[in-house]
């Protein structure tokens, strides 16, 4: 295991501390638990707070999207492991501006059970909460069971929309509605080429024979829908993009935002090779690409692979994407 770390148990606390030291103008810890982080100016009176959270190892995901026009706070779990209900509650209290708090995070059992517990605890403190789950991974469940899909890179769009809605003063119900709407129109699929090594166990997150790729892999290395020989970048882009276009029912005249996301070790150069073909694939079908994001937005430590996400746009969604936002890892406008 070749990692630039100290004791594996300290890994999460130490990188969070690094983030806090590097960006004190943007984020802070409200109490003494490093696993709770909020935007520097939280709470914003009269505005809906947005709390996200989940396992570590996915930077910029989750903690990277805490900032103006994005999430208000985050509860930070161990690598690939949920934060505790206690930490979620602390984040909730720190961002509550009196207009309620949205819980927005990826659909993973551990996170759901802990956030649900935090909902109950927040209710006791008199803070109304609502929950929207990122569930964009089309490989994890067929369309009929889309509510059971896991959440991956496409949650970026939901963060952006929810953050913009909260920032402009929408009520909790309105923020929930626009966020659900964005989640409903988001689809992601990825491929994995090589696993990450888990810092605590020293074991790979999955096994994959040489020369093979896993199609539909999750951001914890969860197996996907099938395994096959490694294809060319163009074949991969075609297969992934066509799965998304089918899932969202896109066609001539549709407008989309595209996110080509690296899972950690895959070079930016390769993401642009993928983007190139995705662009052509969509353009050939008369689908207009209005916003583009290429880079690392949701990773799995040093896993090799990539995912493609599409958000079908209408004017309302586009306006939310284009609203200004600023966090240590994301910037718009």
């Amino acid at each position: 295991m070749k990692k630039i770390i100290n004791a594996p148990e300290d890994f999460v606390d130490e990188f969070v501390e690094g983030i806090l030291l590097a960006h004190p103008d943007l984020v802070r810890t409200p109490g003494d638990d490093l696993r709770v982080m909020v935007r520097a100016d939280a709470p914003l009176a009269g505005k809906v707070g947005i709390v996200t959270g989940g396992g570590s190892g996915h930077l910029p995901l989750f903690k990277g999207y805490v900032g103006a026009g994005l999430c208000s706070g985050v509860a930070i779990g161990n690598v690939f492991s949920s934060p505790s209900s206690d930490q979620i509650l602390q984040a909730t209290k720190a961002v509550d501006g009196g207009a309620g708090v949205l819980y927005l995070y990826g659909n993973y059992g551990g996170d759901v059970f802990n956030f649900d517990l935090a909902c109950d605890l927040a209710e006791l403190e008199g803070i109304p909460t609502a929950t929207v789950l990122g569930r964009d991974d089309v490989a994890s469940q067929p369309r009929e069971r889309k509510h059971d899909r896991r959440g991956v890179a496409g949650i970026l769009f939901a963060y952006k929309a929810a953050g913009a809605a909260a920032e402009r003063g929408d009520s909790l119900e309105q923020v929930v509605a626009v966020t659900e709407d964005v989640v409903e129109h988001t689809a992601t699929i990825g491929i994995g080429l090589a696993p990450t090594i888990m810092p605590t166990t020293g074991k790979p997150s999955f096994e994959l024979p040489d020369g093979e790729m896993e199609i539909g892999i999750g951001i914890h290395g969860e197996p996907g829908s099938r395994r096959g020989p490694l294809e060319t970048a163009d074949e991969i882009a075609d297969h992934l993009t066509s799965a998304l276009v089918d899932d969202l029912g896109l066609g001539e005249g549709s407008r989309v935002a595209v996110l080509v996301n690296g899972l950690g070790a895959t070079p930016l150069e390769e993401l642009y090779v993928l983007y190139r073909r995705t662009h052509r694939f969509l353009a050939d079908r008369g689908i207009e690409i209005v916003k583009k994001y290429v880079g690392e937005y949701a990773t799995s430590l040093e896993m090799a692979g990539a995912s493609i996400s599409l958000l079908e746009l209408d004017d309302a969604r586009l306006e939310l994407l284009e609203a200004p936002a600023r966090s240590p890892f994301f910037r718009e406008g």
Partner: protein, 207 residues
């Protein structure tokens, strides 16, 4: 069994349970994300530490609630949250009791099973920890005395774990594997069975 013995028994059983950490990690590695070894190790250690702090006068309910909170926060995960919720539910059946016998144990496990079924939106046959707990709850409910209860609960859990091998996971990370989840026993159910085994080993020790 009074609070002070219950406390000791739990701690001794968890100390033994930790020895299964590698097995649980490997099973969870194959079917999920491999962190079950950590959940069980960190959770058990946290419970042991907290229970050591509790006074000898702590009631069974207090003991179960202390264990629940410690387990929930040590390595938060599916198992941690579900088990913590189950312990809280179980603890409610002990309210006002100082002495835990077979009926109390049986009620506790039944309440725990109901909690997991409800919170996990799951039923027997979904290949989860619930399969093991329900089997143990049923065995305890029909046992004539504590010793028989212990043995039959252990046997029932072992059988339930074996039976999960041929099932397809329908809940949690393992469900994403679809047909590929068939062929290995459920990690969570296995963890529960190993805990019962540890409990039985401690029971058999000279007091």
């Amino acid at each position: 069994m009074r609070g002070i013995e219950l406390n000791q028994h739990i701690r001794a059983s968890l100390a033994l349970l930790i020895e299964s950490a590698d097995e649980l990690r490997d099973l969870d590695q194959a079917l999920g994300d491999g962190d079950l070894g950590i959940t069980v190790t960190a959770g058990s250690r946290a419970v042991i530490t907290e229970l050591e702090q509790l006074g000898d006068a702590a009631t069974p309910t207090e003991i179960a609630r202390t264990a629940a909170k410690a387990f929930a926060n040590a390595n938060p995960s599916t198992m941690a949250a579900l088990v913590a919720g189950a312990l809280l539910s179980g603890s409610r059946t002990w309210e006002g009791k100082d002495e835990i016998g077979l009926p109390e144990a049986s009620a506790f496990v039944a309440a725990a099973a109901a909690s997991i079924a409800h919170r996990g939106k799951t039923e027997v046959g979904d290949k989860t920890i619930l399969d093991g707990i329900v089997a143990a709850a049923d065995a305890l409910a029909s046992a004539g005395d504590p010793a028989e209860g212990m043995t039959s609960a252990c046997d029932a859990a072992a059988r339930a774990v074996r039976e999960t091998t041929e099932l397809q996971s329908r809940r949690g990370r393992a469900s994403w594997l679809q047909e590929r989840s068939i062929g290995l026993p459920d990690p969570g159910a296995t963890a529960f069975w190993r805990f019962l085994e540890a409990w039985a080993v401690v029971s058999a020790r000279p007091h």
